[in-house]
C-alpha cells in the first residue's frame, strides 16, 4: 500500500461555553488526536458516547471548524479549507451517518436524492441517469427503488441508499459514523459485507467509527480507542484484542456480553469502571480515566499521561511509562511481557 491517505495530527476541537457571559470552560470534545490511515486500510475508532469520536469525523470533513491541529489528505493540508478546496475535498471524502432515515429527504424519491451529489460535482446530465442506476445496483437495490420514497424502505435499504449516494461522487475516503448501529444484526452483517466488497472494488479507505468492539474486530485493520477526547490505545486490531493494555480498553472488552464460550477467553478478568463518563466540560485532572479506573494511583490524578510506545502500539497510561512491565506491577502480577494474558 502507498502512503497514508488521511493524516490527523494533534487535532483539537473545543466548543466554547454557550452564553455571552458564561464562565464555563470550553468542552474539549476532541483534544489532541493523531492518527493516519493508509490507502485501502480501515481504522476503527471506538468510544462510548461523549468520547468525541463523531466530532473527529465531522471536523475532518469541516462540518466543525478545527480548533487546532493539522489534517492532511493525500499529503495536502485540508485543515479549515477555503471554499474552493472544500468542494474538491468533499468529492474525495464522504460521510455516512448513523441514522439512515434522517439523512434522506422524505420528499425526494431515491433517484432524486442520488442525483444531487452528481449535479453538485458537475457530472454531465447525459451520464447521470446511468450512474444512479449503476450505484443503486452496486449496493444491491434494483431499478424498482428509483421512484420510491424513503418511508417505503426498510432501515437496511435506506442505509444502502446512503452508501450509494456517498459512492456516487467516486470518493477515495469514507468516514463511516456508526453506519450499522441503528440496524439489526442480520441486516448489519449484510451492510458490513457490502462495505467490505466495495472497499476492494473501489479501493476505498475507511474511518470506521463505532461503539461496538466486536464489529471493529471483524472489520478494521487498525484500532484506536477513544475516551473523553483522547486516543487511549492505538495499534493493530488483532494485537489489541489479543492483549489489551490500557485499563479502559480492558474494561470495555470485559463488559461485552458475548455469545460463545470461545469469546469469553478474549475478555480480560472483570475490570469494571466506576461510575459513568463525566461531561467534556468538567474534565478530570491528570489522566482522564482516573476517577473510574480500578488501577488508579495518586500519580494518575496529578500527571497527564503521554502516549507511550509499547511494543506494537501506543498506550496513554502512566503505568506504561517504562514499558509493558509497569501495568502488571500495578495489578500486582508478575510481568508476562508481550504474552497474551487474556487468552
Amino acid at each position: 500500500m502507498s502512503g497514508p491517505v488521511l493524516e490527523v495530527e494533534d487535532l483539537k476541537k473545543h466548543f466554547p461555553a454557550e452564553g455571552l457571559f458564561s464562565s464555563d470552560p470550553p468542552a474539549k470534545a476532541v483534544d489532541g488526536v493523531s492518527f493516519s490511515i493508509d490507502e485501502g486500510e480501515t481504522l476503527g475508532l471506538i468510544g462510548e458516547s461523549g468520547s468525541g469520536k463523531s466530532t473527529v469525523a465531522k471536523t475532518i470533513i469541516d462540518i466543525h471548524e478545527t480548533t487546532d491541529g493539522l489534517i492532511r489528505f493525500n499529503g495536502q493540508d485540508i485543515t479549515n479549507p477555503i471554499r474552493q478546496q472544500l468542494a474538491e475535498m468533499r468529492s474525495e471524502i464522504q460521510l455516512v451517518f448513523q441514522d439512515p432515515t434522517s439523512c434522506l429527504n422524505p420528499r425526494r424519491t431515491i433517484r432524486k436524492s442520488l442525483l444531487v451529489p452528481l449535479k453538485a460535482t458537475g457530472v454531465p446530465r447525459s451520464e447521470r441517469e446511468q450512474r444512479v442506476r449503476q450505484m443503486l445496483e452496486r449496493v444491491g437495490l434494483n431499478d424498482e427503488y428509483l421512484y420510491k420514497y424513503p418511508h417505503e424502505l426498510s432501515g437496511g435499504q435506506k442505509q444502502r441508499v446512503n452508501i450509494a449516494r456517498a459512492l456516487a461522487v467516486e470518493p477515495s475516503l469514507l468516514l463511516l459514523d456508526e453506519p450499522t448501529s441503528a440496524l439489526d444484526v442480520s441486516v448489519q452483517a449484510k451492510i458490513i459485507s457490502l462495505l467490505e466488497d466495495i472497499q476492494t472494488e473501489f479501493d476505498l479507505t475507511y474511518l470506521f467509527i463505532t461503539h461496538d468492539l466486536s464489529l471493529v474486530r471483524n472489520f478494521a485493520d487498525e484500532t484506536a480507542v477513544m475516551y473523553l477526547g483522547e486516543i487511549q490505545e492505538q495499534g493493530p486490531t488483532d494485537r489489541i484484542f489479543e492483549n489489551p493494555r490500557h485499563p479502559y480498553t480492558r474494561s470495555l472488552l470485559s463488559s461485552i456480553p458475548v455469545t460463545s464460550q470461545q469469546e469469553e477467553a478474549y475478555k480480560p478478568d472483570s475490570e469494571s469502571l466506576d461510575g459513568e463518563v463525566p461531561g467534556a466540560r468538567n474534565m478530570p485532572s491528570g489522566c482522564r480515566l482516573h476517577p473510574r479506573c480500578p488501577h488508579a494511583t495518586e500519580d494518575c490524578a496529578m500527571r497527564h499521561p503521554e502516549q507511550y510506545d509499547v511494543q506494537d502500539r501506543d498506550v496513554r497510561c502512566i503505568a506504561y511509562e517504562d514499558g509493558a512491565e509497569g501495568f502488571e506491577r500495578l495489578r500486582g502480577r508478575r510481568p508476562v511481557g508481550s504474552e497474551s494474558d487474556g487468552s
Binding site: V185, Q188, A189, S214, F241, T259, S260, Q262, S272, E276
Partner: protein, 368 residues
C-alpha cells in the same frame, strides 16, 4: 421446578391492530411459560413482536385498537378474565415491569424519593381514591416506613449516595442512576414476576455491563422469575436460563440457553447467531437478506420463508409445526422432518449458504 404449575403460562396468544393499512397481525399464536425462579428471555430483532407480547401479558394494550386473543395465566388465574381493578392491583405488586427508556418511565416533575415512596406505599392496591391517597400520603408513620424501604432498596441496587438521590429529580441523574432507580422501583413490592424490556440497552457498554451484573446479583438473591426482552443475544446468554427466539410474531425456537447457542435448530436462529460479530474475530456470515415481514400482509406458510436459505414450496404453503428436541427445546421449521437422525438444518450449512449468497438484488415486493 417443572413439577409445579408454571408461574406464567401464555397459550396461543395473538395480538393484532386495526390500522389505516388494514389489520396487522403482529403476534400470532405465541406459547410461552416462565417457571418459578426461572429467568426467561424473548430475543428477536426489531419488529418481531417481542415487546407487544409483554404488553399483552401485562394488559397494557388498549382494546380496541388492539385485538388480543388467547390465555395469559399467572399463578393459576387467567389474567385476561380478571376484572380491571384486580388486574391493576397485580401490576406493580406481584408483576413489575422495567421499560427500556428509564427517562420516560420516571415522572420528570417529582423527585425520585416521591415517586418511589408512592410505589412502596400504594403499589398493588389498585385504586385507592383521592381521599385514601391523601390520608395515607400525609400520615407520617406510614410514609416514613415506606421511605425507609426505598432507601434500603436504593442501597441494594448500589445507587451511589441514596440520600441525596431521594431528593433529586430524574433530570439530575445520569442514565445509569436512572436505570437503577427504575430497577429499585420495580423491586419495591417484591414481585413474583419481573418483566424487563431491554434493561439498560440505551446505556453505554460499561454502564450496561454494571446494570446486567446488578440484575445477575438480584436474581441470585431473590426468589423471583424474570421475563426479559432483548435484541442482544449476548445479554440473553449472560442472564437467562431459557431463551425464546421470536420472528415475525411467532416463536421460532426455544431451548435452554446453553443449547440454543451451541446447537441452534431453526434456520433463523442459526442465521442470527452466525451474523453476530465475534470478539474472537471469527468471520461473520453474510447476514440474512431482506427484512422483517409486513404485518398487514404477512408471508403465507412459514413467515421466515422469504429470507430463509432453505425455503422451498413446502415452506410457502404450510405453516411449520413445532418439533421437539429434548424436554425443553422445540423449533418450528418444516425442514426438521427431512433429517433421518441428526437435526436439520445445521449451523455450518446455514452459515455456508448465507455466506455464499451473492449480493443479489433485493426485490422490491415482499421483502420488507
Amino acid at each position: 421446578m417443572s413439577d409445579a404449575a408454571p408461574l406464567l403460562s401464555v397459550r396461543d396468544l395473538s395480538v393484532g391492530f386495526e390500522g389505516f393499512d388494514g389489520y396487522a397481525d403482529v403476534v400470532d399464536g405465541v406459547d410461552l411459560t416462565v417457571e418459578h425462579g426461572e429467568v426467561v428471555t424473548i430475543a428477536g430483532e426489531t419488529g418481531c413482536g417481542k415487546s407487544v407480547t409483554t404488553k399483552a401479558i401485562t394488559g397494557l394494550l388498549n382494546e380496541p385498537p388492539a385485538r388480543v386473543d388467547g390465555t395469559v395465566e399467572f399463578d393459576g388465574q387467567d389474567l385476561r378474565e380478571l376484572p380491571d381493578t384486580e388486574r391493576r392491583a397485580l401490576n406493580g405488586d406481584r408483576i413489575s415491569v422495567i421499560f427500556q427508556n428509564p427517562l420516560s418511565s420516571l415522572n420528570p416533575v417529582f423527585t425520585i424519593g416521591e415517586q418511589l415512596t408512592d410505589t412502596a406505599q400504594f403499589g398493588g392496591e389498585g385504586d385507592t381514591g383521592i381521599l385514601g391517597y391523601l390520608r395515607r400520603r400525609y400520615s407520617s408513620t406510614d410514609r416514613s416506613a415506606a421511605r425507609e424501604r426505598v432507601l434500603d432498596l436504593l442501597e441494594e441496587v448500589r445507587m451511589p449516595d441514596p440520600e441525596s438521590v431521594m431528593d433529586s429529580y430524574p433530570s439530575e441523574l445520569s442514565g445509569g442512576m436512572r436505570q437503577r432507580a427504575i430497577i429499585a422501583q420495580a423491586l419495591l413490592n417484591e414481585p413474583d414476576l419481573l418483566i424487563a424490556d431491554e434493561p439498560g440497552s440505551a446505556l453505554d457498554v460499561t454502564v450496561h455491563d454494571e446494570i446486567l451484573s446488578l440484575l445477575e446479583d438480584l436474581i441470585a438473591k431473590r426468589d423471583m422469575s424474570i421475563l426479559m426482552i432483548t435484541h442482544n443475544l449476548g445479554v440473553a446468554r449472560q442472564l437467562s436460563d431459557r431463551v425464546y427466539i421470536m420472528y415475525g410474531g411467532r416463536i421460532a425456537e426455544t431451548a435452554p440457553t446453553a443449547e440454543i447457542f451451541d446447537t441452534p435448530h431453526h434456520p433463523y436462529t442459526q442465521g442470527l447467531i452466525a451474523s453476530i460479530p465475534r470478539l474472537s474475530g471469527e468471520s461473520m456470515a453474510g447476514g440474512i437478506g431482506g427484512s422483517v415481514p409486513e404485518y398487514t400482509d404477512p408471508p403465507m406458510g412459514c413467515r421466515f420463508h422469504p429470507r430463509c436459505p432453505y425455503a422451498d414450496d413446502s415452506c410457502r404453503f404450510s405453516e411449520p409445526a413445532d418439533v421437539s428436541f429434548g424436554e425443553q427445546a422445540r423449533s418450528a421449521c418444516v425442514r426438521h422432518a427431512d433429517g433421518d437422525g441428526g437435526p436439520v438444518p445445521t449451523l455450518q450449512e446455514t452459515k455456508r449458504r448465507l455466506s455464499e449468497n451473492e449480493p443479489t438484488l433485493e426485490r422490491a415486493e415482499g421483502d420488507r
